[in-house]
Protein backbone atom coordinates (compact mmCIF):
# COMPACT_ATOMS: atom_id res chain seq x y z
CA UNK A 1 0.00 0.00 0.00
CA UNK A 2 1.44 3.38 -1.04
CA UNK A 3 1.33 6.62 0.90
CA UNK A 4 -2.03 8.19 1.69
CA UNK A 5 -1.32 11.09 -0.65
CA UNK A 6 -0.36 8.81 -3.54
CA UNK A 7 -3.57 6.83 -3.11
CA UNK A 8 -5.60 10.04 -2.99
CA UNK A 9 -3.75 11.23 -6.10
CA UNK A 10 -4.59 8.01 -7.92
CA UNK A 11 -8.26 8.32 -6.96
CA UNK A 12 -8.28 11.93 -8.16
CA UNK A 13 -6.66 10.96 -11.45
CA UNK A 14 -9.27 8.28 -12.11
CA UNK A 15 -12.13 10.54 -11.03
CA UNK A 16 -10.96 13.33 -13.31
CA UNK A 17 -10.60 10.87 -16.18
CA UNK A 18 -14.34 10.26 -15.83
CA UNK A 19 -13.94 6.69 -14.56
CA UNK A 20 -16.97 4.80 -13.21
CA UNK A 21 -18.87 4.73 -10.93
CA UNK A 22 -18.63 8.56 -10.79
CA UNK A 23 -18.46 9.25 -14.56
CA UNK A 24 -17.68 12.87 -13.73
CA UNK A 25 -18.19 15.27 -16.60
CA UNK A 26 -15.73 17.98 -17.55
CA UNK A 27 -18.21 20.53 -16.19
CA UNK A 28 -18.40 18.85 -12.78
CA UNK A 29 -14.63 18.67 -12.50
CA UNK A 30 -14.28 22.34 -13.47
CA UNK A 31 -16.84 23.31 -10.82
CA UNK A 32 -14.98 21.37 -8.13
CA UNK A 33 -11.66 22.93 -9.13
CA UNK A 34 -13.22 26.38 -9.01
CA UNK A 35 -14.63 25.75 -5.52
CA UNK A 36 -11.28 24.52 -4.18
CA UNK A 37 -9.38 27.43 -5.74
CA UNK A 38 -11.86 29.92 -4.27
CA UNK A 39 -11.65 28.38 -0.82
CA UNK A 40 -7.86 28.42 -0.95
CA UNK A 41 -8.03 32.03 -2.10
CA UNK A 42 -9.93 33.02 1.03
CA UNK A 43 -6.94 32.04 3.15
CA UNK A 44 -9.16 30.38 5.75
CA UNK A 45 -6.60 27.69 6.51
CA UNK A 46 -4.33 30.40 7.94
CA UNK A 47 -7.05 31.52 10.33
CA UNK A 48 -7.66 28.11 11.88
CA UNK A 49 -6.17 27.28 15.28
CA UNK A 50 -2.41 26.75 15.21
CA UNK A 51 0.46 25.23 17.15
CA UNK A 52 0.57 26.74 20.63
CA UNK A 53 -3.15 27.54 20.74
CA UNK A 54 -5.34 25.97 23.37
CA UNK A 55 -7.63 23.37 21.81
CA UNK A 56 -11.33 23.81 22.53
CA UNK A 57 -13.10 21.16 24.53
CA UNK A 58 -15.21 18.85 22.42
CA UNK A 59 -18.73 20.17 22.56
CA UNK A 60 -21.93 18.23 22.16
CA UNK A 61 -20.12 15.43 20.45
CA UNK A 62 -21.99 12.20 20.32
CA UNK A 63 -20.05 9.04 20.08
CA UNK A 64 -19.69 6.38 17.48
CA UNK A 65 -17.14 4.44 19.48
CA UNK A 66 -16.25 1.04 18.20
CA UNK A 67 -18.14 -0.79 20.91
CA UNK A 68 -21.41 0.83 19.80
CA UNK A 69 -20.90 0.55 16.09
Amino acid sequence: MGSLQSRLGEFKRRFEAGAPPYNATHEVIETMHRATAELEGLGLANKALKIGDRAPQLVQSRSCRSEFC
Binding site: T36, E40, L44, R54, P56, S61, C64
Partner: protein, 135 residues
Protein backbone atom coordinates in the same frame (compact mmCIF):
# COMPACT_ATOMS: atom_id res chain seq x y z
CA UNK B 1 -8.97 6.52 2.65
CA UNK B 2 -7.70 8.76 5.44
CA UNK B 3 -9.71 6.76 7.98
CA UNK B 4 -8.08 3.53 6.87
CA UNK B 5 -4.67 5.18 6.89
CA UNK B 6 -5.23 6.44 10.44
CA UNK B 7 -6.47 3.02 11.47
CA UNK B 8 -3.12 1.75 10.22
CA UNK B 9 -1.26 3.71 12.92
CA UNK B 10 -3.83 3.01 15.66
CA UNK B 11 -1.65 0.57 17.64
CA UNK B 12 1.46 2.71 17.40
CA UNK B 13 -0.43 5.81 18.53
CA UNK B 14 -1.84 3.87 21.46
CA UNK B 15 1.62 2.56 22.37
CA UNK B 16 2.84 6.17 22.49
CA UNK B 17 0.13 6.88 25.06
CA UNK B 18 -2.04 8.92 22.69
CA UNK B 19 -5.49 8.46 21.27
CA UNK B 20 -6.96 9.04 17.80
CA UNK B 21 -10.28 10.87 17.74
CA UNK B 22 -11.99 11.50 14.41
CA UNK B 23 -14.62 14.23 14.23
CA UNK B 24 -17.25 14.49 11.51
CA UNK B 25 -20.29 16.75 11.20
CA UNK B 26 -22.31 13.81 9.91
CA UNK B 27 -25.00 12.39 12.16
CA UNK B 28 -24.00 9.15 13.89
CA UNK B 29 -25.81 6.81 11.56
CA UNK B 30 -23.62 7.76 8.60
CA UNK B 31 -20.12 7.16 10.03
CA UNK B 32 -21.43 4.14 11.93
CA UNK B 33 -21.95 2.21 8.71
CA UNK B 34 -18.46 3.14 7.50
CA UNK B 35 -16.96 2.26 10.87
CA UNK B 36 -18.41 -1.20 10.58
CA UNK B 37 -17.58 -1.68 6.91
CA UNK B 38 -13.93 -0.71 7.37
CA UNK B 39 -13.68 -2.62 10.69
CA UNK B 40 -12.27 0.45 12.47
CA UNK B 41 -11.29 0.51 16.12
CA UNK B 42 -10.56 4.25 16.29
CA UNK B 43 -13.30 6.50 17.65
CA UNK B 44 -15.45 8.59 15.34
CA UNK B 45 -17.39 11.32 17.10
CA UNK B 46 -20.17 13.42 15.63
CA UNK B 47 -19.42 17.12 15.83
CA UNK B 48 -23.06 18.06 15.84
CA UNK B 49 -23.79 21.28 13.93
CA UNK B 50 -20.02 21.78 13.48
CA UNK B 51 -19.70 23.32 16.96
CA UNK B 52 -16.18 22.04 17.48
CA UNK B 53 -15.16 22.83 13.89
CA UNK B 54 -16.32 26.42 14.51
CA UNK B 55 -14.11 26.67 17.57
CA UNK B 56 -11.11 25.39 15.63
CA UNK B 57 -12.11 27.94 12.93
CA UNK B 58 -12.41 25.22 10.30
CA UNK B 59 -16.05 25.64 9.26
CA UNK B 60 -17.00 27.29 5.98
CA UNK B 61 -20.17 27.72 3.95
CA UNK B 62 -20.38 26.06 0.56
CA UNK B 63 -21.06 28.44 -2.35
CA UNK B 64 -24.47 28.07 -4.02
CA UNK B 65 -23.15 26.49 -7.20
CA UNK B 66 -21.43 23.77 -5.16
CA UNK B 67 -24.61 23.03 -3.22
CA UNK B 68 -26.35 22.48 -6.53
CA UNK B 69 -23.60 20.13 -7.62
CA UNK B 70 -23.82 18.17 -4.35
CA UNK B 71 -27.59 17.97 -4.75
CA UNK B 72 -27.22 16.65 -8.28
CA UNK B 73 -25.02 13.86 -6.83
CA UNK B 74 -27.71 13.09 -4.28
CA UNK B 75 -25.40 14.30 -1.52
CA UNK B 76 -27.78 16.00 0.91
CA UNK B 77 -25.45 17.75 3.36
CA UNK B 78 -28.40 19.36 5.12
CA UNK B 79 -29.80 15.95 5.96
CA UNK B 80 -26.41 14.40 6.82
CA UNK B 81 -25.56 17.30 9.16
CA UNK B 82 -29.04 18.06 10.48
CA UNK B 83 -28.66 21.75 9.61
CA UNK B 84 -29.71 23.79 6.57
CA UNK B 85 -26.42 25.71 6.37
CA UNK B 86 -24.50 23.57 3.88
CA UNK B 87 -21.26 23.98 5.78
CA UNK B 88 -18.21 21.74 5.86
CA UNK B 89 -15.07 21.76 7.98
CA UNK B 90 -11.74 22.13 6.20
CA UNK B 91 -9.88 18.84 6.59
CA UNK B 92 -7.49 19.18 9.51
CA UNK B 93 -5.36 17.04 11.78
CA UNK B 94 -4.23 18.24 15.18
CA UNK B 95 -1.93 16.76 17.80
CA UNK B 96 -3.06 17.98 21.20
CA UNK B 97 -1.00 17.41 24.34
CA UNK B 98 -2.35 16.37 27.74
CA UNK B 99 -2.61 20.03 28.78
CA UNK B 100 -4.91 20.75 25.84
CA UNK B 101 -2.30 22.68 23.85
CA UNK B 102 -2.02 22.12 20.09
CA UNK B 103 1.45 20.72 19.33
CA UNK B 104 1.06 19.93 15.63
CA UNK B 105 -1.48 21.29 13.16
CA UNK B 106 -2.26 20.52 9.56
CA UNK B 107 -5.14 22.34 7.89
CA UNK B 108 -5.84 22.40 4.17
CA UNK B 109 -8.42 24.30 2.16
CA UNK B 110 -7.78 21.75 -0.59
CA UNK B 111 -9.67 18.60 0.42
CA UNK B 112 -7.55 16.40 -1.84
CA UNK B 113 -4.41 17.03 0.22
CA UNK B 114 -3.95 15.13 3.49
CA UNK B 115 -1.05 14.73 5.85
CA UNK B 116 0.62 11.32 5.96
CA UNK B 117 -0.13 9.34 9.12
CA UNK B 118 3.64 8.81 9.52
CA UNK B 119 4.04 12.59 9.95
CA UNK B 120 1.55 12.49 12.79
CA UNK B 121 3.42 9.58 14.38
CA UNK B 122 6.65 11.58 14.14
CA UNK B 123 4.97 14.55 15.83
CA UNK B 124 3.78 12.29 18.64
CA UNK B 125 7.24 10.75 19.07
CA UNK B 126 8.83 14.21 19.20
CA UNK B 127 6.28 15.27 21.79
CA UNK B 128 7.04 12.25 23.93
CA UNK B 129 10.81 12.82 23.67
CA UNK B 130 10.42 16.47 24.64
CA UNK B 131 8.21 15.60 27.58
CA UNK B 132 10.86 13.17 28.81
CA UNK B 133 13.60 15.75 28.52
CA UNK B 134 11.60 18.31 30.50
CA UNK B 135 10.82 15.74 33.19
Amino acid sequence: MELEALQGIYSEVKALGAQIVVLTPELERYPRALHKKLKLTLDILTDLHLKTAEQFRLAYVLPDYLRELYRSFGNALDRFHDEPGFRLPMPARYVIDKHGIIRAADVSANYTIRLEPSDTLNALRALKTNARQVA
